[in-house]
């Protein structure tokens, strides 16, 4: 039992946590630094943590019996730190103009990344759960962070109480799975479940259903999504971007690893339920989005729609589908961050976030309008952009697993999604602006935006290098399964 632990493996997390404390102290004792530079300072720490995690590229280590440090973890560490750094940079002006307590704000973002890293690294339910709560708690606090904004209070309240409620359900599910399989280690659960389970099937299936529900809440699958639009609308916009990128990506990193290692033997039992959730999520997200009038709510529903596509990858779980899912997630994260960057820029300029208030953006800030258009087309899955390439690979992986009907439904809804994105694009290009003056150019944000848009095109036009990285990463979760259970589970029908 008493294993000596290699704490060095968690260096990026320690760096992030330490940097969080450092930021709070700097804010406390060096007021002259300025709120804006604090954000850039936080971003530096996040980037450093991301760089540090590159030490373990192509490595496969374990931290005790709790976490893996392998390519999968490294990929997600880099992704999460990338998201975090972008959000810190985008927050700088927003926080300066509109929020109090900047030090704590950035500290919470940094701690949220620690939680997300833990979720991707863990191969054991307790660690994963605590990390999940660390991420969620940070997001609850951040959602309510605009203390004097009534919508922020309300969004935070709904998010927090429903999050706690769904956590309880999730924990009950974990309890049942632990009781039936005797372990919280993914690999051991997988091993037990691949044997004879007829005596424990009642508890096992109930536990599985409750866990799907709890995870469904974290990634905002219908019908567990109800908090999403309100939390998105209420939160400060950079935090909305953080929820939509980090919470979803971390949720899926956890979801994917758990289901690929622990629950793969039962795939035939849960596949159609996940597929059902996927259809409901795509349908509701995309159709209700048509009715929205607020950009944040529009993006909330559109992200619900995207969750539907990602769930499709879980329903078709195999190594290809896992790679396709992770690739689509990376594409989605990059695209979504690009879209949010534009929304944040516009909000910083004008304080407006209704769709009709975007009229004439193309005249006042053509570059932002162009980038937002590209991002929205990518979300709708138009060729040339990331959304098409990744969706294509994802649908193909689903079709490969005899889920052609599901891929067809997904293709249909991605067509529907074009409709509401066009509404926003039409406002930007066809609307008459109230004033004609150009906005001033914030260079740092424009640089970040350009990098993100370049990423959209890179993934859209030449996804091969990214795909290779993703494939190496997902191979680790499937290979470890193979070694430990001693049987070939890859390509289970």
């Amino acid at each position: 039992m008493s294993t000596s632990l290699e704490w060095g493996l968690l260096a990026p997390e320690f760096l992030l946590a330490g940097w969080a404390a450092f930021i709070i102290l700097i804010d406390l004792f060096w007021g002259g630094l300025g709120k804006e530079r604090l954000g850039w300072l936080a971003a530096i720490g996040v980037v450093a943590a991301g760089g540090l995690s590159l030490i373990w590229v192509n490595d496969a280590k374990q931290f005790g019996e709790l976490a893996d440090i392998n390519d999968y973890t490294t990929l997600f560490r880099v992704l999460f730190t990338g998201i975090g750094a972008t959000i810190c940079i985008l927050s700088a002006r927003y926080v300066r103009d509109r929020l109090l307590n900047p030090g704590e704000y950035y500290a919470l973002i940094l701690l949220a990344i620690v939680g997300a890293n833990g979720m991707a690294a863990a191969h054991e339910l307790l660690t994963a759960y605590i990390s999940l709560e660390l991420l969620s708690f940070s997001l609850y606090a951040l959602t309510a962070y605009a203390k004097f904004d009534l919508r922020s209070n309300e969004g935070g309240l709904k998010y927090m109480l429903l999050g706690a409620f769904s956590s309880a359900i999730f924990l009950y599910g974990i309890g049942l799975i632990y009781g039936t399989t005797g372990s919280t280690q993914y690999a051991v659960i997988g091993e037990v479940l691949s044997g004879d389970t007829s005596d424990i099937e009642w508890g096992m299936y109930l536990g599985l259903a409750l866990m799907i529900g709890g995870l469904g809440f974290k990634v905002a699958a219908v019908p567990f999504h109800m908090y999403t639009p309100d939390a998105y609308e209420g939160a400060p916009i950079p935090i909305t971007a953080l929820i939509s990128a980090l919470a979803k990506a971390a949720g899926f990193a956890f979801f994917l690893k758990l289901f690929a290692v622990a629950f793969l033997p039962l795939i035939d039992d849960w596949r159609y339920f996940i597929a059902g959730l996927s259809v409901a999520t795509m349908a509701l997200g995309n159709l209700v989005a048509i009715q929205q009038r607020n950009v944040k709510r529009l993006l909330a529903y559109s992200s619900i729609g995207q969750v539907g596509y990602l769930l499709l990858g879980i329903a078709a779980l195999s190594q290809d589908a896992a790679s396709a899912l992770v690739l689509h997630m990376i594409g989605y994260v990059v695209t979504n961050l690009a879209a949010f960057t534009c929304v944040i820029l516009y909000y910083n300029w004008t304080g407006k976030e209704e769709i009709e208030e975007y009229k004439g953006l193309a005249e006042r800030a053509p570059y932002v309008a162009l980038c937002l258009t590209i991002a929205l087309f990518s979300l709708a899955g138009m060729p040339l952009f990331a959304g098409f390439a990744t969706k294509f690979i994802l649908f193909q992986a689903a079709a490969d697993q005899d889920l052609l009907w599901l891929a067809a439904v997904a293709a249909f809804f991605s067509f529907v999604s074009l409709y509401y994105y066009l509404i926003l694009i039409r406002e930007m290009y066809l609307g008459e602006p109230e004033e004609k003056t150009r906005f001033q150019t914030p260079w740092l944000e424009y640089t970040a935006l350009t990098v993100l848009i370049a990423g959209v095109f890179l993934i859209g036009l030449y996804p091969k290098p990214v795909f290779n990285v993703v494939e190496d990463a997902t191979a680790t979760i499937f290979v470890s399964e193979e070694l430990e259970s001693g049987e070939d589970l890859v390509g289970v029908p």
Binding site: M1, S2, T3, L5, L10, A17, I24, F63, G64, E65, L66, A67, L100, N101, E104, A107, L108, L111, V114, G115, G118, L126, T127, I130, S131, E133, L134, F137, S138, Y140, A141, A144, Y145, K147, F148, G156, L176, G179, T180, G182, D199, I200, E201, W202, G203, M204, Y205, L206
Partner: protein
């Protein structure tokens, strides 16, 4: 029925009564007191489960700190002055849903043939708990400390009064 079972049923009855009180009491302060009752009942259940350590934690953390916090919050938000009924309009559906959930869960846990000794609780010494908590489970332990920190930061930032408020 052995005397142990008898004790269990008494404790269970107290716990369930407390829980029921929390969700149906018409006075919020009563609800809070019922919560304390339920929490102490759960502490007693831990004793029956041969986990005295948890029972102590339960009484200290919950029976003490958490309930006091909740009572404070009730005072500050003047819950007793709130007009209107305590329960929302979806009571019938909520009752139905909770009953269905209860039925499903009870059916599932009784139908499952649990693997292992289902008759006797094993005593686990506090030394062992302490040891694994800081060795095997060190990572969740560290992360849990961060969770507490987040909660602390969040609570301070949000609850603190600002100038001009």
């Amino acid at each position: 029925m052995t005397y142990e079972e008898a004790i269990f049923y008494v404790i269970a009855a107290v716990t369930v009564a407390g829980g029921l009180g929390v969700v149906i009491a018409r006075n919020v302060i009563h609800s809070a007191l019922f919560l304390i009752m339920a929490l102490l009942g759960v502490a007693a259940v831990y004793v029956l489960l041969a986990s005295e350590f948890l029972a102590i934690v339960q009484v200290l953390v919950y029976g003490g700190a958490v309930t006091i916090l909740i009572l404070f919050a009730m005072m500050l938000t003047r819950v007793r002055d709130t007009a209107g009924p305590m329960d929302g309009p979806q009571r019938p559906i909520a009752a139905l849903a909770a009953t269905i959930f209860l039925g499903t869960t009870v059916l599932a846990v009784t139908q499952t043939e649990w693997r292992g000794n289902t008759e006797e609780a094993t005593v686990i010494s506090i030394y062992e708990i302490g040891e694994v908590l800081f060795t095997t489970w060190a990572m969740p332990f560290e992360i849990a400390s961060l969770v507490l920190m987040v909660s602390l930061i969040g609570a301070i930032v949000l609850a603190r009064g600002e100038e001009g408020e």
